[in-house]
Amino acid sequence: MNYQKNENKFNTKDLVTIGIFTALFFVFQLIGAFPLMMNPATMFFMPFGIALLCGPIILLLLAQVAKRGSLIIVGIVNSIIWFVTGMHWGMVIGYTLMGIIADFVAGIKDYKSIKLNILAYALFCLGPTGSFVVYFIDPSGWATTMLHNGTSMEIIKGLNEIAASWILPVILIGTLLIATISGIIGKKLLKKQFEKVGMIQ
């Protein structure tokens, strides 16, 4: 009976709810990211797909489990799963890192402010951009170390230009924007349907 009194600790229902919603988040990530990952031209914009589809899920989760740490756990679980599936370490660390930041942001108003929750979600979606951020910091570094003899200066220069180019900012800002849109859709959905059913505390 004790856990009921402690408002801030996770009880079993919270953990199970987080687990189920992380499963939903994972599935929608795949649906959003997969078509973009397959095509080399769109591969770098994979975080857009994730950001687009997962808004309602995270917002409903925050409404159900309004406690410190829920987004951190979602981040860690995603990190574990993506690590085990061999994804780039930048993404793995990105999820946990952004999970911590997002949880902090949403926690400022005790998870009750929908605007902050949407912002938290948008920040959370920056997690998967981790791999691209790491890559773009030094795109030619890979080439210089791996290819040594046989890599012409043209290619090194070309690769460095990509770093200076527009791609990374587009990825980051685009993800934030699309995540915000998804968050707003989620907010409307929560208001329209879930509040009526009394599933929001």
């Binding site: 009976m1 004790n2 009921q4 229902k13 329209k192 349907q193 009526k196 059913v197 009394g198």
Partner: protein
């Protein structure tokens, strides 16, 4: 052993008391059956005993529940779980693990039993409950009945003194109910205390020491099996109780007054799934106004068949004719509607009225209101569908189908978990739809219900359509044999 003293309870947010001054004594080794209409309070009593109230479900509590003179409210749930095991209604949502053996071991793992004991208990459970075939399998591959067996096994492995079961047979077919009966017999032989809340009483009569009838939150009467059976049938029906003896159920349907010409003709339909042939060469005809029951054991392909009738199943050969015209899958989707066992998957909108308008370009307000009135849903017009009861949700799905002008309706287990009154309501609904010239198929193993309203039975077995007959007093024996009515408990 267990004493309930002056217990009253109101769920948080509700206005009326769910339980009013309950007093009940349960001795060690007793087999107690709690029965009554849906919402009478039997589930609430069970929740008090395993500690879910007040630790999980909140509300206003008055009175006491004592386990061996100790106040249950003072005992944390995990302590209670060492002595009290619980099995719930829905097989799909009770398992925590992915594979069978881990699930059976789940409860005892939580207790921290040493490894040797874990192995021993799991092995004993598998032997006692005859689960060798299921050992090592993935839980998602099991049927509903098999999942429920594993849920039971998980509790059995904990070797509790008291077993609580909340409508465990709701989603099971007759063969699985017989297995459940056998498991409960094992518990009774071991002198365990069993408390079970149920609608389906027929399989428990030979096991129950006490039958507690609850109405509107109070205990009206306590019977023994003999006393309850001695009550006149009409009185039991008034009490909202389901049939006690499936052997003596009367056929209550009527054959459609006018034999219409067949409108639906299925010709040599074969259905495939992952390279297997599920159903071969199915052919039959059906007319408007017919209520046709589809029966067969678990896994034979009834659900696949239902989906194929709606045009939802891709891998098929053979033809479906409607009014003489060969139908494509898209056309089948347009004229038919499937009311699933879990209607929640079909409800999308934020109010019943909006649900009826969904996907329709220019909704006809008058027709919608007429349909809602016909189905007794007008007062719920602005209510969110997910708040409604199971039976009401079903009627919303039916309303939607009528508004979309669907002529072919298929219902998948519409009466699982329903008490007598609700089951009769569903059967009235079907008769109404039949009089409106709809063609209705029902996938069910609820013998009592099928006898109430079905005209005709189609039986699938071994990938084929084995029987196709009208229900009347001549075919009754065959019907009972097909549904496997007449288990050991009925002798």
């Amino acid at each position: 052993m267990l004493t309930i003293e002056n217990l009253s309870f109101r769920y948080k947010g509700r206005e009326a008391n769910n339980l009013k001054n309950i007093n009940l004594d349960i001795q060690e080794g007793e087999f107690v059956l709690l029965c009554g209409r849906s919402g009478c309070g039997k589930t609430t009593i069970i929740r008090f005993i395993n500690g879910l109230i007040p630790q999980f479900y909140k509300g206003k509590v008055e009175g006491k529940v004592l386990l061996d003179k100790q106040d249950i409210f003072e005992i944390p749930m995990y302590e209670l779980s060492k002595r009290i095991g619980s099995v719930f209604q829905n097989p799909r949502t009770q398992f925590f693990n992915v594979d069978v053996d881990s699930e059976i071991a789940f409860g005892i793992e939580n207790q921290g039993l040493p490894r040797k004991q874990l192995e021993q208990r799991v092995q004993t459970t598998i032997n006692d409950l005859q689960l060798e075939k299921l050992s090592g399998m993935n839980l998602h591959d099991l049927s509903g009945g098999e999942k429920q067996k594993i849920a039971f096994a998980s509790t059995y492995a904990m070797d509790s003194e008291i077993y609580l079961l909340d409508e465990p047979s709701s989603n099971l077919d007759n063969e699985s109910i017989e297995s459940l009966h056998d498991y409960l017999q094992i518990l009774k032989n071991k002198k365990k205390t069993v408390i079970i809340a149920e609608h389906r009483l027929h399989y428990l009569l030979d096991l129950a020491d006490k039958i507690v009838y609850i109405e509107d939150g109070t205990i009206q009467n306590i019977y023994t099996s003999e006393l309850l059976t001695a009550l006149p049938l009409l009185q039991r029906e008034k009490m909202g109780l389901r049939a006690l003896d499936l052997q003596t159920i009367k056929i209550k349907n009527q054959k459609p007054a006018q034999q219409n010409d067949p409108v639906l003709a299925i010709e040599s339909l074969s259905l495939f799934y992952k390279k297997h042939c599920i159903l071969k060469d199915i052919s039959f005809k059906a007319s408007y106004g017919e209520i046709i029951g589809i029966v067969g054991c678990n896994g034979v392909g009834k659900s696949t068949f239902s989906k194929a009738l709606c045009g939802l199943h891709k891998k098929s050969s053979g033809k479906i004719f409607y009014h003489g015209e060969k139908m494509t899958r898209q056309q089948c989707m347009k004229i038919s509607y499937l009311v699933m066992q879990d209607v929640n998957y079909e409800l999308f909108a934020e109010s019943v009225y909006q649900e009826c308008c969904l996907g329709i370009k220019n909704p006809n307000k008058k027709m919608i209101e007429e349909t809602l009135t016909l189905l007794d849903l007008m007062q719920y017009k602005d209510v969110h569908p997910h708040i409604l009861s199971g039976g009401q949700k079903q009627r919303v799905a039916v309303a939607v189908s009528m508004i979309c002008q669907k002529e072919l309706l298929i219902f998948d287990e519409p009466t699982s978990g329903l008490d007598y009154d609700s089951m009769i309501q569903v059967s009235h609904l079907f008769k109404k739809l039949s009089s409106l010239n709809k063609l209705i198929f029902v996938v069910s193993h609820d013998y009592e219900f099928l006898c109430q309203c079905c005209h005709r039975i189609i039986h699938f077995d071994d990938s084929q359509l084995v029987h196709d007959f009208f229900i009347d007093n001549h075919s009754k024996e065959l019907f009972k044999k097909i549904l496997k009515i007449g288990g050991s408990y009925n002798e």
